[in-house]
Amino acid sequence: MESLIGTDPKIVFAFWLGVAVAAMTLLMLVVIIVMRQVVLHRERVHARAVAFWSTILVAEPGFETGPVPPLPNRDLSGFLQVWNEVHEPLHGATTAHLGRVAREVGLEQRLYRHLGHGGFHAQLVAIIALGHIQNSESFHRVEHFIDDKNPIVSLCAARALMQIDPKRAVSKFVPQIVRRGDWSQGSVASILHEVGADQVTRELSEATLQANAQIAPRLIRFLASVSPEAAAPIIRNTLLSSKDERLISTCLQVMTHRDDLDCVRPLLAHPRWHVRMQAAVTLGRLGVPGDEQRLIAILSDEQWWVRYRAAQALRNLSFISVDDMLRIQQAQADGYARDIIRHVLAEQTMGVAA
């Protein structure tokens, strides 16, 4: 240190900067090691709790009436993990045994505390667990989480509410589906399937009818997946009246009614290629004799995907055999049309279609 006396101030500054950096580095190392030890300890406690409570919550039939041990606070996270995992395959239903365990360990009160004061993970696990308990009294405690900014929290809350009281929850859930562009669509569809068509069809249909072209494709897809019957008139109406190509495309993808094919056929000449392509796919799925001529006409489309899907659609038509396909191929003057049929026939032979 004495050697720094009378030294250039820049060197002194650099030296002390180095000392500060070294101190920060050592501090960081200590933090890493302490954090590791804490995490290891927590993981050990958690694993012990998971193993212990698994034997109780997943009790063999006949051993379900035994006494339930007290649930210490340190075991709560392990208990909740098992609790939620056990309920997942039950799709919202709970069993008498699990209900008894929940009552005896005072689970709901503990979960309410988590909801009020827990961190992100604790709150989410509590919301999910309350959904599985399905006690209508917890509805109002979970309710406000559906408006949470975080899409994971709000979506978990929506699912819990739909499990607790679907009739009440659907009027909150559907408007959120419309509003929340950040919700995972696959998870929304999964929740809708869990609760079933009866609970959601009416609200979802109304919301779809009122939605703008931006949101409607999302809603039509959900509605068609839970209730194709309810979706059919909306799809027909959209195909007849809408000018929005994205919406039309979505309707073509989800339509299931042959009666509406008259709305589809003109779309084979739509200026946008993805609409022509979806129209071809739909005809391949639902088409009737006579539609093959319409599909043959677009085998020479300028877009590869339209040609490809048209050829696949022809192949999918139940009344078109491989020999018919070969005849169609030979009759084509256009090389692209011949190539695409050859491609699709080879796919069929090898079972490698996309």
Binding site: A14, G18, M28, I33, G186, A346, M350, V352
Partner: protein
Amino acid sequence: MIDFSAVADFIRGIPWMQLILTLQWVFLAYFLAINMAYLVLNYISVFSIIRYMRDHRAEYLPKSLASYQPPVSILIPAHNEHGTIVSSVHSLLGLNYPEFEIVVVNDGSTDHTLQEVIDAFGMVEFPEAYRRRIATKPVTRIYASSRYPQVRLVDKENGGKADALNAGINCARYPLFCVVDADCILQQDSLGRVVRPFLEDPSTVAVGGVVRVLNGCTVHNGFLEKIDLPRSLLAKFQLVEYLRAFLFGRLGWSPLNALMVISGAFGVFYKERIIAVGGYRSGTVGEDMDLVVRLHRSLRRERRPYRITFVPDPICWTEAPTDLKSLKNQRMRWQRGLAESLAPNFGLMFNRHGGAVGWLAFPFMLLFEFIGPVIEVFGYAAMIPLYFFDLIPLQSFLVFLFVSVGMGVLLSTNALFLEELSFHMYPRSWQQLRMFGVAILENFGYRQINSIWRFMAVIKWLFSFWTKGHWGKIARDGSWQRHGERAEDHGT
């Protein structure tokens, strides 16, 4: 005839002390700027990773319906990869993802790559109506397999990795494509994790993932079984380097939507957007970075909302070179790739619509990643004569070395901290201490030699000594394919 006495007079006339003092300030300012920039990136990464771990550490949401997961085409460009290609495809077939296809592109291999794939997967020639949406070297044949309907093989004339990838894009059937190097090992859930940002934000056009060092790990049936530290010191240095590069080098830029690199070893892209920018640029060695920079430039120019995102999950593992020659080739190739990506996209820098990428990331890459090695090597080179001619006191030299090494160790320790905050793949205390030791040790020789290689690459690039892009070959023996054995037990 040169008048040497005049030259000597000129040199004597230069105000050396003034020049050295000025340079001293320049170097000091540069040193402070680069370290501050890295520290800021580091702290952004801390917040990003905490947020990411908070949202994704557990699967809170109900399982997404499979029909809502977009199908993905996995592209594997292969040039003389006969040692690894078959097991790579086998391991990819085991991925846990609802719908995907694997397109192997044989880029004119001169070894048995093509025949091995044909034999292993029962491929037969397929009359595909090939679409040449991006121009490539001629595709000679396309193969498919009835035993493995997900696998296709494209055989084409040699044109480099970028050209092979473009041919793969032409053949891809699905809206998203994933690029995977033939020698990489993926986790079973890799694809699901890296596709997630596309589902969370529809404006996402590209997603990159973390690449980790495979050396020292145990692989079974094409999947990672046990994670451990490499035995070779050179691989250990690279392990710490990869942590630094991926956990804060890239994660730091992602929240600013200014990520400029998605590793060529593993990345997922929205196909139509890539075709719209012309696909990969052939004739470059840094085709991966070039593509991402062009994506930014094109989308910024069109003023479209978009996201280029980075997922910090450890999803792709690759064998790091363990000999200096291969390492040198790799680093020089990376540096040249950086230069080739920055130069043609210079218009992005400080562009009115450049956003964070144009105003922060591009200048950062240019100043610290491209010019950095030049300044560093000049700094080292200058120290020697300055010390011998007594122009710099020993004390100053030692203090500067102390600060420089200290900053290097601090940045590496911060990367270890990020790793601890997130995935703690190396959970034992001795592993952490060993990595800390490596973080110190790398400052004495490894860092300098790396800077020298990168400096050489800059000079070579400036003088265009290299003629064209080619496949960078690194000595790898694919020993991780053998069941339950460590990579280094076979001398890689």
